[in-house]
Point group: C2
Chain length 256, copies 2
């Protein structure tokens, strides 16, 4: 028996339930009829060591969470991960993720990092080539950093976000310590779900041709495939499929 033959690495804990959600989606998207058909996946969920991403991006702390994320990616590489994904949009802001990925590449250049935002853009290009205006629901940190604005803009799309009040509502639906998804996700509170749904609807009314669920907590609340016929793009699901393609492409289930 030799169990060390590579694995998909899930860097969890950002937040913990998003890590579970990605791992579940990897299993769900794998062709498998019994335990032994499933791919090797390891997850490190070390939430207590990774400072809040949005707080750093908004300048409320100088500690870059990218350092802990990089350290954990190196630990995962040492533990056998050969491709790694991080189910947190905000953490993909270049100021955070550039540092983390540099640490990984220096310590373990053979390990492949699968970038969630790039995977989402590739997905839109492939599946919705006619679309021009793409709505995004995200944390204020992701918004402030221009992550999706830049990535969508470079690919020729226009990014559409909720207004100030709407972005605050989305942020609270995610991180409010009483009703937010991070505090209460099993099940999600009715208020968090209602607020997110309402903001998605407004983006559709304003002309969005797809809405990116650009924070990995949001698909825990908005589980439907579309709002008024406009597709909701679950970045976690896109990342799950991209990780399988990077690790064992022949094991990817056909898309529904």
């Amino acid at each position: 028996m030799k169990t060390d033959t590579g694995a998909i690495g899930v860097l969890g804990g950002v937040g913990p339930y998003a890590g579970l959600d990605l791992m579940r989606k990897i299993f769900d998207q794998t062709k498998a009829n019994c335990d032994q058909d499933h791919l090797s996946v390891i997850q490190f969920s070390l939430s207590e060591h990774i400072i809040d991403r949005t707080r750093f991006l908004l300048g409320e702390t100088d500690e870059n969470p990218g350092e802990a994320i990089g350290e954990i990616m190196v630990r995962m590489a040492n533990a056998g991960a050969t491709v790694i994904g991080v189910p947190c949009n905000t953490a993909h802001s270049p100021r955070i993720m550039d540092q983390a990925v540099a640490m990984l590449h220096e310590a373990a250049p053979q390990v492949r990092f699968v970038h969630m935002i790039d995977s989402v853009i590739d997905f839109i290009r492939e599946r919705l080539p006619q679309a021009r205006t793409i709505g995004v629901l995200s944390t204020k940190g992701t918004y402030a950093t221009g992550l999706y604005q830049d990535a969508l803009g470079k690919a020729g799309f226009t990014a559409l976000f909720p207004d100030d009040a709407g972005r605050e509502r989305v942020q609270q639906a995610i991180s409010n310590t009483s009703y937010g998804i991070k505090a209460q996700s099993n099940p999600v509170s009715p208020q968090a779900r209602a607020d997110l749904y309402a903001e998605a609807e407004k983006l559709v009314e304003q002309g969005a041709e797809a809405v990116i669920l650009g924070c990995t907590e949001i698909p825990l609340a908005l589980t439907e495939p579309d709002v008024r016929g406009v597709p909701l793009l679950d970045a976690t699901n896109v990342l799950a499929r991209a990780l399988i393609v990077a690790f064992a492409p022949d094991r990817l289930k056909k898309d529904a």
Copy 2:
């Protein structure tokens, strides 16, 4: 930043969704209002390397899955796990788990293995001290090995199992490659759920004062707390709480 300060280790993959279920229950049972409140958990889900436990116990193969489980526990210890749980009842059969735990203790004597079956017996003693007859739903492998019969007997309880046909029905609800939980768990098929519920009801009719869901796939199908007022004991949930007690007792949420 120093992220290597111990973690709960979840040995997943037996099966993959049971590993997710244990990890989710650890998060659910932890006092937490934000990501950083959560405990460090690492999971290795290396299903393809762990041969079917029931097949080994029934003599259909000579390869002891305990060897792979032991090897993976050592890898988890090296990766930082300080307490380890395995969410698979069948794997706790002494012929399998004794070998695995011996490998762990030789390589990493400081790591604590939390035994799921012992945790369930402790739970019954504490919560249901008046009970005498305890029903058990399990795989045929767990039944054949006498795992729960022995553990319950030593503790002064009588174990009650479904009859031959019922045990076959339970086994199929778990592992049938078309409708079994291992093939189809999100959501579980109506047939798997109906068959498991019917067998739990029969045990209650025969006098069971509690029913142990003695295979970690079963709580994915039977999510209610009781059948006709008789409690269903989710061994995965009991293990989640025991792991928190072993790792950080002050972080355990009060029982509902």
